[in-house]
């Protein structure tokens, strides 16, 4: 029939958020075209093992590949080309190879990139851990006898430090201006215990000072700290957080102050044909205070993709979004040395009232975080039963009534 054309949803970003968006668009009834555009040349892959099993040589790079659902068999993958710019009103993207792509609906799932330190010194020998290519380079650099400086005592920094010790590095030192590792996600009691466990397993710490520069001529030979001392190192890993990939959306009037600000249906800028998914989305969670936040937990791409795809598919079908509030239960884990951290809920909202719920801090333990006397988050730390221990408290966190909108 003349006058009809196939409409297209473009998913900008081909990592887990992009894949889940394509799958959830199909699950939500979108049968027309989907194109997924990705800056990396790889099909979607799972990133958590990059700082752990992959770095340790215990898993192959091939094992990272995510398996797309059969429903996405007709999705077009446009890999190795980043989105350079977007015109959301004209509904066109321009890729960095110059190609223009028209869309009817857009999913912004461009994620984050590793933040870099911009201080003086050589760049050779300095690594990040975000992509499979990053991990390949670091695998080649790390080995028995290397002296490793990890800048940043967050999730990635602590995981990399643990892995490097396990690989037989001669010396592994974690540098951070904070007084304890993972202080912000864990709070003081668990962060102090984490420090103890790392130290016991051979990780050194240089805490309380930032990095002001890098020593060396052609390649890095050390890290210069804020107190003027230099920590010698053959390998430097910068694990200092991330930067949302939003440059391509500049000029469209969106709030891009920290990722893409969305409404409760993950729609950006009040535009019903544009949604944001995954690490790049700054969204309100109806389970808590409704303050929009970016959440870089592994579970968030899957959670946001489902809700965003439903809203977008409903709009493209001429309908309104499902009124069900978007209220994912946050969860994170981290494997370090022979122990695991497992969290449910929002510990960050209960830092003023932290209680040990099970065990004691030096063994297998569960710590609770409370707001107004109510449990808002738990973190378990310990051996193989850690996930199960945290899970015993999950039901209570799920059950709590949502605040009325």
């Amino acid at each position: 029939m003349s006058g009809t054309r196939t409409r297209r949803v473009v998913v900008a970003g081909a990592s887990m958020g992009g894949l889940r968006s394509a799958e959830q668009l199909r699950a939500a009834g979108w049968t027309e075209a989907i194109t997924v555009v990705g800056a990396e040349p790889h099909m979607p892959y799972n990133r958590p093992p990059l700082s752990k099993e992959i770095l340790a040589g215990k898993a192959s790079f091939d094992s990272l590949a995510l398996t797309p659902k059969a429903s996405t068999a007709d999705v077009e993958w446009r890999l190795g080309a980043a989105v350079a710019s977007a015109d959301l009103n004209r509904r066109r993207l321009v890729l960095d190879d110059g190609e223009e792509v028209a869309f009817d609906g857009l999913v912004a799932a461009t994620g984050v990139r590793a933040r870099r330190l911009h201080c003086p010194g050589p760049t050779v020998g300095r690594h990040t851990v975000r992509t499979v290519d990053d991990a390949r380079a670091l695998v080649d650099a790390l080995g028995p006898g290397s002296r490793v400086a990890v800048v940043g005592a967050g999730f990635i920094g602590c995981e990399v430090a643990a892995t490097a010790v396990g690989l037989g590095a001669a010396r592994v030192t974690v540098v951070d201006p904070e007084p304890l590792p993972m202080l912000r996600p864990l709070g003081e009691p668990l962060a102090r215990e984490l420090l103890r466990r790392h130290a016991e397993r051979g990780v050194r710490f240089a805490l309380g000072h930032g990095v002001t520069g890098f020593a060396g001529a052609d390649r890095v030979t050390g890290v210069v700290l804020g107190d003027g001392t230099t920590l010698s190192a053959d390998v430097v890993v910068e694990a200092v957080g991330s930067v949302p990939n939003t440059d391509w959306l500049d000029g469209n009037g969106l709030d891009l102050a920290d990722g893409v600000l969305t409404d409760r249906h993950l729609r950006a800028g009040g535009l019903p044909h544009v949604v944001a998914v995954g690490d790049v989305a700054r969204f309100p969670n109806a389970r808590y205070d409704g303050v929009p936040r970016r959440v870089e937990h592994w579970s968030i791409p899957t959670d946001t993709a489902r809700h965003a795809a439903r809203a977008l598919a409903a709009h493209l079908a001429g309908g309104a979004p499902d009124p069900t509030p978007f209220a994912p239960l946050p969860t994170f884990w981290s494997d370090q040395h022979d122990f695991r951290l497992q969290s449910f809920g929002a510990p960050a909202l209960g830092m003023a009232d932290i209680r040990v719920l099970e065990g004691d801090l030096t063994g297998d333990t569960v710590v609770g975080y409370h707001d107004g006397g109510t449990l808002v988050g738990v973190v378990a730390l310990g051996g193989p039963a850690t996930a199960g221990a945290a899970a015993r408290h999950r039901a209570q966190l799920v059950r709590q009534p949502l605040p009325t909108a």
Binding site: R20, T67, K69, P384, A385, A387, A391
Partner: protein, 62 residues
């Protein structure tokens, strides 16, 4: 429908248990057990479980 879990990958995170409690359980030692041929009515739960597995160790076949 067949549920296949790569037990070499599984690290007992238990996320599948929340997504599909009728298929997946953690035993008393917190190790994963599961029903390999669940009823077709549990397909959506099974697919959710596969999505949320941190190790991506779960496949749904058939």
């Amino acid at each position: 429908m067949q549920v296949v879990v790569d037990m070499n990958k599984c690290k007992d995170h238990g996320q599948c248990v929340f997504a599909a409690p009728d298929i997946f359980q953690l035993d008393a030692e917190a190790h994963l057990t599961y029903v390999s041929d669940p009823d077709e009515s549990l397909r959506a739960d099974a697919e959710d479980a596969a999505d949320v597995c941190p190790l991506q160790a779960i496949r749904i076949e058939g």
